[in-house]
């Protein structure tokens, strides 16, 4: 039986990777993917807690997270497309129309 902590460490690691990716990568889609990564990291920890506690709440929440992530992806891509159509770029640094 793999002890609970290892899962937590994995989840924390994946979460950190996702956050780091979100902070450094320049391409909007990559940033989007890193956010998805963070959400999945949370799923890992939720499932492991749920299994450890023998309680169903974790699993229920995981399903909700997955569906929401999907919806978010759809909307996110739609917006990126709209942005791309206007600005022909997906590079985050060009998206500073508004500042100050």
């Amino acid at each position: 039986m793999v002890p609970l902590n290892w899962y937590l460490i994995l989840s924390a690691a994946v979460f950190m990777i996702g956050m780091f990716g979100f902070l450094t990568r320049k391409n909007v889609i990559i940033m989007f993917m890193s956010v998805e990564l963070m959400l999945n990291a949370v799923n890992i920890s939720l499932v492991s807690f749920s299994h450890y506690l023998q309680d169903m709440r974790g699993h229920i929440l995981v399903f909700f997270i997955i569906t929401v992530a999907a919806a978010e992806a759809a909307i996110g891509l739609a917006i990126i497309l709209a942005l791309f159509r206007n600005k022909q770029t997906a590079h985050v640094d060009e998206m500073n129309e508004m500042k100050g």
Binding site: L23, V92, M95, M98, K99
Partner: protein, 644 residues
């Protein structure tokens, strides 16, 4: 009979209100009838008051409560006793005569009604001052006359020098009133009220009390006396606040006659006389009064020697004579002081009015160097002015002689430690007075005419309305002294010193411990001094006219200093006026207001605005930066929570 006394000040007040309101449209030319009628009315009531007081009546009643706040209560009230009555007579008589005189003098002046309304207002304030039964109403009259002198000096307001002189007079008086006001505060704090009656009666039991004034332990009575004396110095143009009187000559001559000779300037002496119970309780105060009087009289007399402006010479002579009166009060001889005030009012007013008629004739020319031999054209003015000069120089049996001699005798024989020294100065001043009075007479009336040709043929005697008051005043200049003939001469001719007895209950009688012989000696000595002064003037200006010019070259430095009035005006300007304005401009506006307060008041918002534009740049618009800031925010919070 009670309410009728209130008429004395009310009549001139009514005249003022009528003239000022209706003067412009209705009265115009005949505004003088209203004022003259009013002042004549108060003169009549004043004489009735004289007889009442003579018959022993003592009047002291309140008309209405003026101010009431907690323990402090003061009302408008009248106290009529011997001192007040003398002053009433002097004020109303001089005022009436000068009113009549001004009809001729101010004829054709556009602001005719305005002049007479100011004269009535002045008479009202002076009468309120004199008849007051408490210190606050005295202060009311005090500032009232100051206001009228501001109006009257600045009467020709389109002339810068006139409006400057008016402003200067009022502000210098305010310096005096500053001390006077604080005196009243201390009186209230010590006695609990500001009425004469209770204050003078309780003055005794505070005789040796002392007070902690601004950290110094000071004898109470001396402090009060000196503070009140500040007011007198300001009003009667004594050292160091004398600078305004010579400039006050900018006003029309009747104004100088009324205000700067007969009435207003004597208010200071009246104050010292009125508060004699307080003054006599403190030795030092009396000494200060005496010394100030003496020094001022000497100082003014010396300046008077070299002036060329007709009215300025008489103005300095007034300052000098006022010094005499304070000298008298300083040595405890209040009666002598008031007596001199009484006589001085007549002959000084006469001198001014004569100067006025000379100026009238000479078309406004005042420089005596450009006059000469006027006696041919203006005999009445010449004679009256001659008598007035004799009287002021102490020519025997004229008004000046009796009052001046009384003072010198009282100074000599009085108990005051400074008496002898002050007597010496007094005698020297008597000599100088005689000299400059007759210098003026000889230069203007004798010798050859030095003015321009058209001035010469324009010379004429003043009209009746001006010469009649001159003659009446001339009678006063001669006869006024006979009221106070000292006992020494009095026994021989069966006349006793009415004024001394009359003033005894109010001002008391100083115990002179000199013998009759000494008194006679002093009298003769001072007469000789006076006559020698006249002789010297005669010698220098009639026999050897080139002598004054030569002396002036030899002692040119002294001459210049005297001619420029010891540079006192420039000195004041240098140490008071210019620095205040400089401080106002540079320090207050420049530094505190601009640099310190405004800097903070504008600085703080500007700093916030700068900080704001700085912060604004943090919002770079790049999503990466936003995310990193959020991440650092989380880390900071976690760190804070761990450390807490």
């Amino acid at each position: 009979m009670m309410t009728s006394y209130a008429l004395i000040p009310l009549l001139p007040l009514a005249a003022f209100v009528i003239n000022i309101l209706l003067g412009r449209k209705l009265l115009k030319e005949n505004a003088h009838w209203v004022s003259i009628a009013a002042v004549a009315g108060s003169w009549v009531v004043a004489v009735m008051a004289l007889f009442d007081v003579l018959s022993g009546a003592k009047i002291n009643y309140d008309v209405y409560t003026w101010m009431l706040s907690g323990g402090f209560k003061v009302s408008v009230g009248f106290l009529i006793d011997q001192l007040t009555v003398v002053m009433l007579i002097v004020v109303t008589t001089c005022s009436m005569l000068i009113h009549i005189y001004s009809v001729g003098y101010m004829h054709g002046d556009p602001g005719y009604y305005r002049f007479f309304s100011y004269l009535s207002l002045f008479t009202f304030s002076m009468l309120m001052l004199v008849m007051a039964n408490n210190f606050l109403q005295l202060y009311f009259g005090w500032e009232g006359v100051g206001l009228c002198s501001y109006f009257l000096i600045g009467y020709y307001f389109d002339k810068k020098s006139a409006s400057d002189a008016g402003k200067k007079a009022f502000i210098v008086n305010r310096f005096g009133d500053f001390g006077f006001g604080i005196g009243i505060f201390i009186i209230f704090l010590t006695f609990g009220n500001v009425y004469y009656e209770p204050v003078f009666s309780q003055a005794g039991n505070f005789a040796n009390a002392s007070i902690n004034f601004l950290g110094f332990d000071v004898h109470l009575m001396t402090l009060i006396a000196l503070l009140l004396f500040c007011g007198s110095v300001g009003k009667s143009a004594q050292m160091p606040l004398h600078v305004w009187l010579p400039d006050a000559m900018e006003g029309p001559t009747p104004v100088s006659a009324l205000i700067h000779a007969a009435t207003m300037v004597t208010a200071g002496v009246f104050l010292v006389a009125r508060c004699s119970p307080i003054f006599s309780l403190s030795e030092t105060a009396l000494m200060v009064v005496a010394l100030t009087g003496a020094i001022t009289s000497l100082f003014a007399a010396t300046i008077g020697l070299v002036q060329n402006d007709l009215k300025r010479i008489i103005a300095y002579s007034t300052v000098s004579q006022l010094g005499y009166m304070f000298l008298a009060c300083g040595v405890g001889a209040y009666t002598a002081g008031v007596f001199h005030l009484y006589t001085h009012a007549f002959f000084k007013a006469l001198l001014f009015l004569c100067a006025g008629s000379v100026m009238h004739a000479m078309g406004g020319e005042l420089n005596i160097q450009k006059m000469g031999n006027l006696k041919k054209y203006m005999p009445v003015t010449y004679i009256t002015m001659l008598i007035a000069s004799f009287s002021i120089s102490g020519f025997p049996f004229l008004a000046g002689f009796f009052s001046k001699d009384e003072i010198l005798w009282m100074a000599y024989s009085g108990g005051s430690p400074v008496g002898k020294f002050v007597w010496a100065i007094g005698t020297l001043v008597a000599f100088l007075t005689a000299f400059y009075s007759f210098r003026l007479i000889f230069l203007t009336f004798h010798g050859s005419f030095r003015g321009t040709h058209d001035q010469e043929h324009h010379l004429h005697e003043s009209p009746k309305s001006m010469t009649v008051p001159l003659m009446l005043l001339c009678v006063g200049a001669v006869a006024a002294g006979w009221v106070g003939i000292p006992a020494l001469i009095g026994e021989q001719i069966g006349v006793h010193n009415y004024i001394a007895e009359f003033m005894k209950p109010v001002l008391g009688h100083p115990e002179g411990h000199g013998t009759h012989g000494e008194e006679l000696g002093i009298m003769i000595f001072s007469t000789l001094v006076g006559l020698s002064g006249i002789g010297l003037a005669y010698f220098m200006y009639i026999l050897r006219p080139e002598l004054p010019g030569r002396i002036a070259q030899q002692f040119s430095a002294v001459h210049r200093v005297l001619f420029n009035k010891y540079y006192v005006d420039e000195f004041y300007d240098f140490i008071i006026i210019r620095p205040t304005i400089w401080i106002a401009k540079n320090v207050l506006i420049g530094v505190t207001d601009a640099r310190i307060i405004e800097a903070i008041v504008n600085g703080v918002p500007n700093a916030i605005a700068a900080f704001s534009s700085g912060l604004r740049r943090v919002q770079t618009g790049l999503m990466q930066h936003y995310a990193t800031i959020m991440a650092t925010g989380i880390l900071l919070i976690v760190a804070m929570m761990l450390l807490r």
